[in-house]
């Protein structure tokens, strides 16, 4: 049945998340302004924090786990992008491991935080153009990696990294494989930590691989053959993103919701009322704008939940995951932009978090495929075009 209500248990879960998020928010400004420090993995409040007990599960009423995952992500980011009461292990590389690793690999690197290194100085969106190479040394059964990676999220703090490198540049996408490289491996160095517009408490690293040798069984998924025709393993790796793209949308929308709620509360204090039933000529311009932002956010939320719901139901969601990311990223940045506009000059004060949310949310339309790249994916899907036909 088509339904948009939450069960009591769903609500209790989100209420617990909300309380944690509001605790985390207290640290948001400090770590934004002290980007050289890492936020603690466990906040001082963690031990004394008590989650409220949850009502029993009721499978006839409870929302599916994938959808709850998105709502949880939104709520966490409503508090702050980076800070968590207890930061869990894991990074983008773990999603790749789960999606493409052999059972042995999944077991072996369980519990480690793995970053994901695709982007290079010379290419980002066009990930098939990567230049990093992997060459097999048959004598020692080792891969030798060479290349440079940039913009690696949690590259500094991670235990290891999933790196994309090509076995054969001529083969294009079919030659690209991913490898697991752990910190401390000779020839693997983190060289730089970026200074950014926003999400400053999050580390973003540059790294180099210079004749970096790793065991042969560190090739993710274990398939060494190079496909000359199609994408080979590339498509499988890209599938990882069907789960993470809606989550990026959810991150952006959690932040946008924080910005809107703050803006509405401050304006309400100044007497701005929103009457959803008012006729157009009776509504103030500012109320009209607030309703527009709220509508945009709701649309993005529903796109995100829809794509997650599909994956929870084990239905294909390639197009929908890109819709969720495209809409989420777009609304995240435009909503926060507009909220500052509505609050005027105090809207930019660092006394408040709004200006931070404006900076933080902006990333969600860039990484894991920019808004344009999402539109390419959607357009190819609805037009039945290959990447060669529409690029």
């Amino acid at each position: 049945m088509i339904d948009f209500t939450l069960s009591q248990r769903d609500e209790a879960i989100l209420e617990n998340q909300r309380e944690q998020a509001m605790l985390c928010r207290k640290y948001a400004r400090y770590y934004d302004e002290h980007e050289e420090e890492f936020a603690p993995d466990v906040l001082p409040e963690a031990d004394s924090f008590e989650s409220k007990p949850l009502p029993e599960t009721d499978s006839a009423r409870d929302t599916n786990g994938a959808v709850m995952g998105m709502l949880t992500t939104m709520m966490q980011n409503y508090g702050d992008y980076t800070i968590r009461l207890r930061r869990g292990k894991g990074g983008l590389g773990n999603a790749a491991l789960a999606a493409s690793g052999t059972p042995e690999q999944v077991e072996r690197w369980r519990g480690q935080t793995l970053a994901m290194a695709i982007t290079e100085p010379g290419c980002g969106s066009d990930s098939k153009a990567i230049q990093a190479t992997a060459v097999l040394d048959e004598a020692t059964n080792e891969w030798i990696l060479n290349g440079e990676k940039i913009f690696v999220t949690t590259g500094c703090r991670a235990d290891g990294v999933v790196v994309w490198a090509t076995l054969d540049k001529e083969a294009g996408r079919g030659g690209i494989k991913s490898f697991i490289v752990m910190k401390g491996t000779p020839g693997f160095d983190v060289t730089h930590k970026e200074k950014k517009l926003g999400i400053r408490a999050d580390d973003t690293a540059a790294m180099v691989f210079r004749d970096c040798r790793i065991p042969r069984d560190h090739l993710l998924g274990g398939k060494e053959s190079v496909s000359r025709k199609g994408g080979g393993g590339f498509k499988g790796v890209m599938k990882t993103f069907n789960m993470t793209r809606p989550a990026v949308g959810a991150i952006g929308i959690g932040i946008a919701q924080a910005a809107l709620d703050f803006t509405k509360e401050e304006l309400a204090r100044e007497g701005v009322v929103i009457d959803y039933m008012a006729a157009p000529h009776q509504r103030s311009a500012i109320a009209e704008k607030l309703i527009e932002i709220e509508a945009d956010i709701d649309a993005a939320v529903l796109d995100i939940l829809h794509s997650a719901w599909l994956s929870g139901e084990a239905k294909p969601n390639n197009t929908e995951a890109s819709i969720a990311k495209a809409k989420g990223g777009e609304v995240a940045r435009t909503a926060t932009q507009r909220c500052i506009g509505l609050l005027g000059s105090l809207g930019i004060s660092r006394e408040y978090l709004l200006e931070k949310w404006f900076r933080d949310s902006r990333i969600t339309d860039i990484y894991e495929g920019t808004g344009q790249i999402q539109r390419l994916i959607i357009a190819r899907d609805i037009l039945g075009y290959s990447a060669a036909e529409l690029s």
């Binding site: 209500t5 006729a279 009776q282 527009e292 649309a299 819709i323 357009a379 609805i382 037009l383």
Partner: protein
């Protein structure tokens, strides 16, 4: 539970209506627009499908389906995918029936619903829009003054669907004593009521031309207390309006999807500079955006409809869906027309008609009554 899963019944209805829209609507759509009329046979065919009376209870010889605004939204999207004006014409009686189901007293249901359970199309509709530019549900100019046990209605209603043939109207009016949305009432008024004048000539409009629309003048029309919808209790005008508006948004959604799905094959077949225009990013990205917005609008509309279905206050989700759709529907129609270039401007293609219809439905959304 958050779920995007239609019920089996909804899936079945969707499929049936979708086929009907393909087979019975697209082909006649242009001619109906040109002649500004809706063929009797078409209305009879939709009647046979049982779409209008499906939610009337079985005891009253109706379809006996649960009253579901979500199902209504699904049906309207599919019908409007075929043709928005014909969809409106065919389902206009539901603007009378659904409020009766939602708010009518048992006596009112027994008296009026059987009108719609016969074997041929029966017209009735809601009269909401008024004769001035700043329409405001909270400040209607059609007034109901108490007189004796009943009321006296005065005012002008515009853009009333099926006004040329309706046997009854649901006149939305403001009670003389009560301000704001809380003072909005609905009255069942028969066509031959004394003091009710229906303009001979239909309203002439930019779009939705196949839908007959009329101007009604009420000059001290006397109605009995029993004709006040909901009896003593009256109605919940916010919910009634939300239901009406959500339904009309669903028409716009079907129209938007038609634009998208017609633009896709055209863009693939039309060559410019040695390439299908769909391979140009500007065009491809418009199409991607159309897809994004069609999805987004559908979920917003379903959400508002689902609120109605649960009996939750729907004014807010409806206002959000409406704000969003007002902006996006016209953009979709606009870009869709642009995909067709000069051909989009010529009446050989349905595109210019859809462009007019999109502009029409997005304002009828606030004033008309589907």
């Amino acid at each position: 539970m958050i779920s995007f899963s239609p019920s089996e019944e909804q899936e079945l209805i969707q499929q049936t209506v979708s086929e009907f829209a393909q087979n019975e609507m697209r082909e006649i759509s242009r001619e109906c627009d040109e002649t500004g009329s809706v063929p009797r046979e078409f209305l009879e065919k939709t009647w046979e499908l049982g779409l209008v009376n499906s939610m009337i209870p079985e005891e009253l010889d109706g379809g006996g389906m649960e009253r579901s605004p979500v199902t209504t939204a699904i049906v309207l999207e599919e019908l409007a995918f075929g043709c928005a004006s014909l969809a409106c014409a065919a389902l206009s009686p539901t603007t009378f029936i659904h409020p009766l189901l939602d708010f009518g007293t048992d006596e009112q249901k027994k008296e009026y619903l059987p009108l719609f359970t016969g074997t041929s199309f029966h017209a009735a509709s809601m009269a909401l829009a008024e004769s001035h530019f700043t329409f405001d549900l909270g400040a209607l100019r059609t007034v109901a003054e108490p007189k004796g046990d009943g009321y006296v209605l005065s005012g002008i209603k515009r853009m009333v669907p099926l006004g040329d043939r309706a046997s009854h109207f649901l006149i939305i009016a403001r009670s003389a004593s009560n301000e704001g949305i809380g003072g909005v009432e609905a009255f069942i008024v028969p066509r031959d009521a004394k003091g009710l004048a229906i303009a001979d000539e239909g309203e002439k409009t930019l779009g939705l031309r196949a839908l007959p629309l009329s101007k009604l003048e009420l000059e001290r029309v006397e109605v009995a207390a029993s004709q006040r919808l909901g009896g003593e209790q009256g109605i919940d005008a916010a919910q009634l309006f939300a239901a009406a508006r959500t339904a009309s948004l669903a028409v716009g959604l079907g129209l938007s999807r038609a634009m998208l799905e017609t633009s896709i094959p055209y863009a693939k077949e039309r060559y410019a500079f040695g390439q299908p225009i769909a391979q140009k990013q500007t065009i491809a990205f418009w199409l991607a955006d159309m897809q994004i917005e069609v999805n987004s609008m559908r979920w917003l509309i379903w959400k508002a409809a689902s609120h109605l279905e649960h009996g939750l206050p729907a004014a807010k989700p409806m206002a959000l869906a409406s704000s969003y759709a007002q902006r996006e529907m016209i953009k979709i129609a606009d870009n869709g027309l642009q995909v067709f270039g000069g051909h989009g401007y010529i009446r050989d293609y349905p595109v210019e008609m859809w462009y007019r219809n999109a502009r029409t439905i997005t304002v009828l959304d606030t004033v008309a009554a589907l």
